[in-house]
């Protein structure tokens, strides 16, 4: 329920709000690539797998959709619009009608410190649904029992509810000094990250099992890493390692303390494909109905350093502020990192890496 997410917890880092140069609104083209690339998959999944009759959907019904980890627009609006079009199409086909009388209610969810003001003020002018914002962590219950027909979550489940505690202690075998993410090279660190992801995913699935009506669908988009490949050999992994080296540079220059860099970790984990499927199958409430894999359409385009720096800053600025203190220091961190990224962009973008697997998985509530 709402109480656990009422106040800004140190572990909730929303995307940068507003519409300034560092905002998510202005730096989310990459994430939109996900939404656009999966449009056909979402349409096909709803056409094949959604059974309106067994859901009890009839002409006077309300069809309820939630987007979990929505951030601010416009990606969430596009994703929701795709779902609504697919459901309407299916409904009109089933009823042999050329217009739909269904009403849609759409819940946009993210942490309570997400910029809902910007979200609400940038709704597209032609929305044909009743919109609501739902503040809170999707690792907890957010909605009443059996109240949702389709849940969507794009590029959000890799955010952990917290950094695993053991990797931040200098006396723990899992201390992650010298890294800021799960590189995949240190067994104890990988175990700690993996356990946190497993717990978080279980909480997520159990909460949704209560909220989704039997027969309802869950559409999850998530970047997985190929089985057996460490994160450090993916483009993001290389990018995080590069960022880590920047932070240690700045520690040497005296801008931040080395101890603060030692204890800094991203609350982010990309599971391998096998690991993710295994964890989903362990939950008895959902069946896997469809699974599509694709390469992100922008992955091999040579984007400029500014593009990547903007993308990364929009997603993580709050997290850096939380750990390193003032906005001024964070500005300097990102300034140094952007400059150095520019000098090294070809190394980052063209290094011999393994692509992540962009997975679109469709689950049905049994």
């Amino acid at each position: 329920m709402a109480n656990e997410e009422t106040y800004i917890s140190p572990e909730s880092y929303p995307m940068v709000g507003g519409d300034g140069p560092h905002s998510y609104v202005k730096n989310s083209t990459f994430q939109r690539g996900f939404v656009e690339a999966t449009r056909r998959m979402v349409l096909a999944a709803i056409a094949e797998k959604l059974d309106l009759k067994s859901l009890g959907i009839y002409s006077a019904s309300t069809f309820q959709i939630a987007d979990l980890g929505c951030s601010v627009g416009p990606n969430t609006f596009i994703a929701v619009q795709n779902i609504i079009e697919a459901v309407e199409h299916k409904y009109m086909e089933a009823e042999n009608q050329n217009h739909s009388t269904l009403e849609f209610q759409v819940f946009f969810n993210d942490h309570s410190n997400n910029d809902f003001n910007t979200l609400f003020q940038t709704f597209p002018p032609d929305t044909k649904y009743f919109a609501a914002g739902v503040p809170g962590s999707f690792h907890n219950r957010l909605f009443p029992k059996s109240s949702l027909h389709i849940v969507h979550s794009s590029n959000a489940l890799h955010w952990l509810s917290r950094v695993p505690e053991e990797i931040t202690h200098s006396k723990s075998p899992a201390w992650n000094k010298g890294s800021i993410h799960c590189t995949g090279f240190v067994k104890d660190v990988a175990k700690a990250y993996s356990a946190q992801f497993s717990n978080d995913l279980e909480s997520f699935l159990n909460a949704r099992a209560e909220e989704i009506v039997p027969g309802g669908l869950m559409l999850i988009l998530l970047a997985n890493i190929p089985d057996g490949i460490p994160m450090s050999r993916t483009p993001e992994g290389i990018h995080y390692n590069f960022l880590c080296s920047c932070l240690y540079d700045l520690a040497k220059m005296g801008l931040v303390s080395e101890e603060r860099v030692d204890s800094f970790n991203l609350p982010v984990y990309h599971p391998s494909l096998g690991e993710f499927e295994r964890l989903i199958k362990r939950n008895p409430n959902f069946s896997i109905e469809r699974k599509d894999m694709f390469t992100h359409p922008l992955m091999h385009k040579v984007y400029c350093a500014k593009f990547w720096a903007g993308l990364f800053r929009a997603a993580t600025e709050g997290l850096f502020e939380q750990h390193f203190g003032s906005q001024q220091v964070v500005d300097q961190i990102f300034k140094y990192y952007s400059r150095k990224l520019e000098q090294n962009i070809s190394f980052i973008m063209e290094g011999k890496t393994h692509d992540r697997i962009q997975l679109c998985i469709i689950l049905k509530r049994k």
Copy 2:
């Protein structure tokens, strides 16, 4: 639906957000007086008038509540908590149980430029309901058909969807030059304001008639003026007249143009008790179940000028900015007004006036 309220319309002026010295959060004690004074009435109305069986409420049900024109906390949280306690009490009594298994979903509604971020970040830590924010004007549809069990609206319906057009034209017989509200002294102005209120209330009731389940309740709190008494003889009316004189003072000093003051009007109308009842009875979808009248508990306390100036600024700052331009000018307007109010507070507070009638009216969806 959401589209009409998507972008900030010139006619939506939310309370001042955040928690600064001019915010609604810090300047809403007066409004809280309403909520506290009506607690007993709300409890009694729900106990007497809500029929859980006819609503189809059983143990696994979700009970849906909306607060329309909620602004930011804490008043809306207190009002919602009162309703939930009353419904739970009624449910436990009917089921002969000592705990309730009902789940509550609460929708907090206000204009899309309301400060939802502050609302979401100040939820009390012990909320036992699923919360959602709904952006949009309550003069339009906001929720799916037959989806709400109780609708609450406190001290909000006097806000019109717009200033009546005819009172702003210099060639109209209803031109309201020299006043900034419906004083009650000019027939054509009063007619224009009354017609706008009547249209707005009709839109409000028709939208709610679709959204509230048969048997569901609507609890409306609104300050009415006594029949036959012009607004200018109520404390608020005197206050608005005083503010108007301040604006003309400032025009003489050259801070604002006289034309801007001539065309400034508050989109606010307090109906007389008879008028309000007549308009409600005209709508065939609701029955009046209960009607309580009371005097606001703070009305006769001698509050300082700062208190009243703060209360008024929190509710109207956006409106002044919209009309008079820069924040700097608005600051100067409120500075002058506060100082002059201090010099005249006894005249305003102790003038021979007629109290407004604080009305708590309970409607049932037929």
